[in-house]
Structure formats: structure tokens, C-alpha cells
Symmetry: C2
Subunit: 386 residues, 2 copies
């Protein structure tokens, strides 16, 4: 067995096994709030809640090991004073496992109409009450110190797709300068809640290979405890995404976890694991769930479809969440047709559990050395529509 | 101990203890799907789901013993063919405990603009697609046979408040004639799913004592396995409601369960138990929950109130649901301010559990003979606002 162990002040990442036929690897991250086997999917809890799911369900039913919070949303509501007074986000939401926060960069970028980006930082308008705010790289770190996640993200600009080469290049350089400022602030401040935090920088460069190479080299040179890839899954074709991931992963140090932000479909996850990615997050499983779309190992199901009206078989016969065997397709379809909350709850639990099961299965296959064969078979099935 | 045991073909009701200082009694209903200690509160699952709550949560966390379905809603969606093909409502929704369905009378009455009541039955328009339907007393029984609840209700007209004496009188007589038709149909048809159903008739008569007396006598004369009181909690003052309940309970046979439909606040439940009521249902705990209002043993809490923004104490320190100790007031307030699904889920679980706990507590107090003292103390607390 090929084990590499790198210990940092705040976080460990251990590679347990590397795939012979791809860049995939089985690993383990250790944080102050627990261990995370990789590849891992991290459910998104934007405002301090994974929509429609209780914390104990995340823990005991979906078997989530780490969840995300969004700095932009949490900053605006409930606000930093409340989170601080609660003793940080873990305590505020009642989640004693690892947490990761993004830096607000992506959300601010999504506000397109209501923000102005300049070298010093970004001025933006709240989507809640229209109030004006100004995020700098330094402030994004200060905020994330106060929120108190185990892993926090550098403040970057996420370029849109399509994006002019010159804009992508200029923006990438600014993201690199911002990273320097983020690191300076991070390294000159302390954690607030008695445990270490880790800062991950983010590779940008849009869909331009030369920029992605430059950015990956620059980001790697900062030598942080993990590295992220941003600016993908923003509308570009999947092949381009894979091309960029492959390029970047070949440069980012293999002894540190690689986190592909905001990706994606179950097939996207598997393909990117094969390219060397260890960590994923995406709103897709929960957002699609709320619209009645579930992912299964045999393909996707649109629960609103008339086809399921009298299908009294289990929601997902292969499923590993309690909802898969407690409810029938016909019943959950009825809930969606009637716009009942319980439909959203059931589909959300199912999809999160499916994503995490898929990662557990990838881990098992990596462990026994059959990842690539399994991955190729699985991708064919999960992209079909039932 | 004063035990009266009456056995019917389909249902048993056993009075375990009677209060010395009120008309309250501790009892037990036995149905094909299990036993129900009374007084009992029945959560409302309008469209085959108690909004925002999983079936296993109802069973294992709220400790609900029986839930309701609404004939009007289930008839329109998913429709009888789907429920029948599933093998009845128990199987369709995955609830293997007692179920009760109303007859559709109340919902049809609520449609005020979109229905026409005549002797033969009621023509109404679907709130979903505007389609026209016609319910007769016979058809309401046929539908409830197909839905397959353990306890089903007679088809009645629920008069509004205020209501002219002459209209109330005319309507009451029609409800009595409809009851005769319901009983004829019920007694000449069989259950569809291999277990016995029970039909409860409904006392009407608006707020007129002489009508309520006449109606209670008439309804009692049908000698069914339980009796219901309808047409209350439709806007009349609480004192009038209690006056009507007292009058009716003094006439309805004490050896059969008495069900007060659609009532009410926690204090309403306790006062009506003291007047001899055994069964309650109401959308209040779940509807108010979805608006951020929770009931506790110390009074009601509006979770949206700024007062709770930094209150990091448990949601309800006296509460007996897991949510009461897993989440803080500040966190649940944040969920409501952010319009997050989880807020509705938490408050719904809390309120249902609170209502059922209140009934369990009433049962305990009845058992040890301290019901009235406890009830008077409790009512004072639960009507306050925190």
C-alpha cells in the first residue's frame, strides 16, 4: 500500500491508495471536527441549513461528513454578531462535524447587476434589503474567522462563461493578488473558537489552458493545506471542464486535497475523481430534489412524470436512505403534484444520500483497485433518464 | 376503578377512569390498526401527509396514535383509483396505525363561492382545476370505503358563524336526513381492505341550544360506535363553543367516544376534555408552526420576534420532541427569517408533539385523579404569550 502522510498544524491529508488506471485516489482528511474519507461530496447548507433536512438526518441517514455554509448569505443573515455570540457556526446550527465556508466570491459574482469589482475589493448590494456592503480579501478572511468553519476559502473572482481571454487573464492575476492578501490576513490572525482553520486558495483562468496552468502553478506556490479549482461548471461544455480539471490537477500537488467547487452531476463527480479531484460541493442534489428530480444508480427520475402515478414500488429499490424504502414512487409523485413539503424533504434526503453513497462506492472501488472499470459502467447508467 | 367495556364489531371503547370534578374521562379506543388512549389529539394529514413531517417522525417522535385525511382533498388528488390500487390510504401513505377521514362536508362548506347545496347532495368546483363534482351522502360513504380509514365520518352540512336560526334549523334537519342515508349506505356495503370501519355521525345546530339538544338526541338515536360534534370553532366566541359542547356531551352517550371536530387551541382542548370530549383534530399546530408560532407549556412563542434573535437557549426547555433540545430559539428564528424549509419542519414537529404531550399529560392526571386542578393551572399558563 502506498501511504503518504503529510501533517500540518491544522489539518492532515493522507493518501491511502492511488488508482493504477486513472489519477483517482482514496484519501482521508483530518480536521478538528473529525475525519473525512475522500473522494467526498459536501452538501450545501447555504444559510446554515441544508434545505429541508434535519442535522441529525444529515449525520445519521445521509452519512454526510462535512457540509458547506455560504459566507455571503451568513454575513447578511443572521449576521456575524449572532454567529459570534453563538460561539461560531458549528454551535449556531448544531453541527459538530467539519464545516467549510466559501468566501462569498462566487455569490458576489452571481449578483452581476448589483456589484462592482475593483482592485481593492467588491461593492455589492444585498439581495435581501438592497443595503450596500464592501468585501475585501482581508474582510472575507475576517468574516470566515468569525463564522469559524474548519476549511475556509480565499476571496477570488469567479469569471463567467463565456469570458473574453483578456478579461479572464486580468481577473486571474487579480485573484492571485487577492490570494496574497488573504494569506497575509489569515497568517496574521488567529482562530476564534479554539480549533485551527485551514485556508484553501482557488485556481481560476476560465477555459484557457495557458491561464489555468499559470494559475495552478501560482496557487500551488502558496503551499497551503489544500487547493481548490473555481470558475468551472458555470455553463461550459463538460469536455472543457474535464480538460481544465485534468490540466490543473496535473500541476496541483498530489499530496494535498483538491477541491472542485460547485460541481456537479453524479457523472461529473466520477469523471473528475478520475482526474484527481478529492472534494466536491454542489446545490444540484438539493435544488433538483425540490423540483421533483432524483438521481439513482439506474438513472434520473422526474417524479412529476405521469409515468409514476401508479408505480407502487419503493422510491429507489437500490437506495440506501430510509426514504427509499419507506415511500413509493406513486406517493412521492402525489406529494410533488400536491406541492407538499414532505415531497421536497424526501427527495432532498434521497439525493444527498445518493451523492454520498456514490462517493462511498468510489472509495470502496479505489480500495480494491477496480475504480476505473466501475466508474465507466456507472457513468453509463447514471446519465440515463428513467 | 370504574371500567365500562363496550364491544362493537369494528371498534372498542373502554372508559378507564372518570374525573370526579368534571366530565373528563380517561379511555381507550381499539381499532383494527391499534389502540388509542383518550383524550387524544389527531394531527391533520390533509392530502395524505401531515405537512412537513415524515411518517416515522409522527410515529416515533410526536408519538401520534392516529392521523386524519381529508376526503375532499384525497378524492381530487391523487384520486380514488390510485388510492384503491395502492390498497387503501394506509398503504398509499405508509402509515400502519389508525386513520380517520372526514366526509368532505366541511371542505365543501369552506368553498362557499364554488358549491351549491341541495337535498340530494352538493355540487362543487375543484379548487385545483375548476372541474365540477357532486357529493351525495351515499357517495361520501362510497369514497370513504375506498379510502379505507378506520373511522369515517357522516356527510353533513357545517353551518357558518354567524348563522340565522332558521337556516341552522333547516340545515340540521337535512344533516339528519343525510345521516340516515349515510348509515343505510354504510350498513349495506362492506369494507374493501379486510378490516372493519366505523362510521361516526355529526351533531350540528350552530350556536342554538335547542337545536344542539335536538341534534344530539337524534344523532345518539342512531347508536353508532362514536359521535362527533361539528360546526364549532368556526368563529364563535369560546364561551359559546364550551356552552354547546357541554350541552351536547350531556346528551351523547357516555359509553361512546365523543369527537369535537376542528378544535382548537391547547386551552380549548383542555376545557373541552373537562366537558366530556375524547377526540380532537385541528390544523392549528401545523398551520401556526409554518408561520413561526409555537405552543409551549409556558405560553406561545412567535419565533419571528426580534426578542429571540440572540436567545441561544433550547427551543423549548420543557419540550419532549428531539427538536426542542437539538435547536436553539435563535437558530429557528434565523430559519424563519430566511424562509428556510427546516424552520417549518422543526416548528411542526414541536407543535404536534406539544399537542400530543398535552393529551398524554391529561391522561396521566386523569389516572391519578388530579385532572381539574392541573387543567386550571395549565390553561392559565398556555394562554400567555412569551
Amino acid at each position: 500500500m502506498n501511504i503518504k502522510l503529510i501533517t500540518f498544524a491544522s489539518m492532515n491529508f493522507k493518501i491511502i491508495k492511488e488508482d493504477k488506471n486513472s489519477k483517482a485516489r482514496l484519501g482521508e482528511i483530518t480536521t478538528a471536527h473529525g475525519k473525512i474519507k475522500t473522494p467526498i461530496f459536501m452538501p450545501v447548507g447555504t444559510a446554515g441549513t441544508v434545505k429541508g433536512v434535519h442535522q441529525h438526518e444529515l449525520l445519521e441517514d445521509t452519512l454526510a461528513k462535512i457540509i458547506l455554509g455560504n459566507t455571503y448569505h451568513l454575513f447578511l443573515r443572521p449576521g456575524l454578531d449572532i454567529i459570534e455570540e453563538a460561539g461560531g457556526l458549528h454551535k449556531f446550527i448544531g453541527w459538530n462535524k467539519p464545516l467549510l465556508t466559501d468566501s462569498g466570491g462566487y455569490q458576489v459574482y452571481s449578483l452581476s447587476e448589483n456589484r462592482k469589482i475593483e482592485e481593492h475589493g467588491v461593492k455589492f448590494q444585498s439581495h435581501i434589503d438592497g443595503s450596500y456592503h464592501f468585501f475585501t480579501p482581508e474582510y472575507a478572511i475576517d468574516i470566515q474567522r468569525k463564522i469559524g468553519a474548519d476549511i475556509i476559502m480565499a476571496f477570488d473572482e469567479c469569471t463567467p462563461y463565456p469570458c473574453e481571454y483578456n478579461y479572464a487573464k486580468k481577473s486571474m492575476h487579480m485573484t492571485h493578488r487577492w490570494l496574497k492578501r488573504c494569506c497575509n490576513r489569515f497568517d496574521s490572525t488567529e482562530e476564534k473558537y479554539g480549533f485551527k482553520q485551514s485556508l484553501f486558495p482557488i485556481v481560476q483562468g476560465s477555459i484557457y489552458k495557458d491561464l489555468r496552468i499559470k494559475s495552478a502553478e501560482k496557487i500551488a506556490s502558496f503551499d497551503r493545506e489544500g487547493n481548490a479549482i473555481g470558475g468551472l461548471s458555470v455553463g461550459e461544455p463538460h469536455d472543457i471542464m474535464y480538460d481544465m480539471t485534468e490540466t490543473v490537477c496535473s500541476i496541483l500537488p498530489s499530496e494535498k486535497p483538491r477541491y472542485l467547487m460547485g460541481v456537479g452531476t453524479p457523472a461529473n463527480l466520477l469523471e473528475n475523481i478520475a482526474l484527481g479531484v478529492d472534494m466536491f460541493d454542489c446545490v444540484m442534489p438539493t435544488r433538483n430534489a425540490r423540483n421533483g428530480m432524483i438521481f439513482t444508480s439506474e438513472g434520473t427520475i422526474n417524479l412529476k412524470n405521469k409515468k409514476w402515478a401508479k408505480d407502487f414500488s419503493a422510491l429507489d429499490t437500490n437506495g440506501t436512505s430510509f426514504v427509499d424504502h419507506s415511500y413509493t414512487k406513486a406517493y412521492v409523485r402525489h406529494l410533488f403534484k400536491s406541492n407538499e413539503l414532505l415531497g421536497k424533504q424526501i427527495a432532498s434526503l434521497h439525493n444527498i444520500r445518493f451523492y454520498i453513497w456514490l462517493m462511498e462506492e468510489a472509495q470502496r472501488q479505489l480500495n480494491v483497485g477496480t475504480f476505473t472499470i466501475w466508474k465507466n459502467k456507472m457513468v453509463k447508467k447514471i446519465v440515463s433518464r428513467l
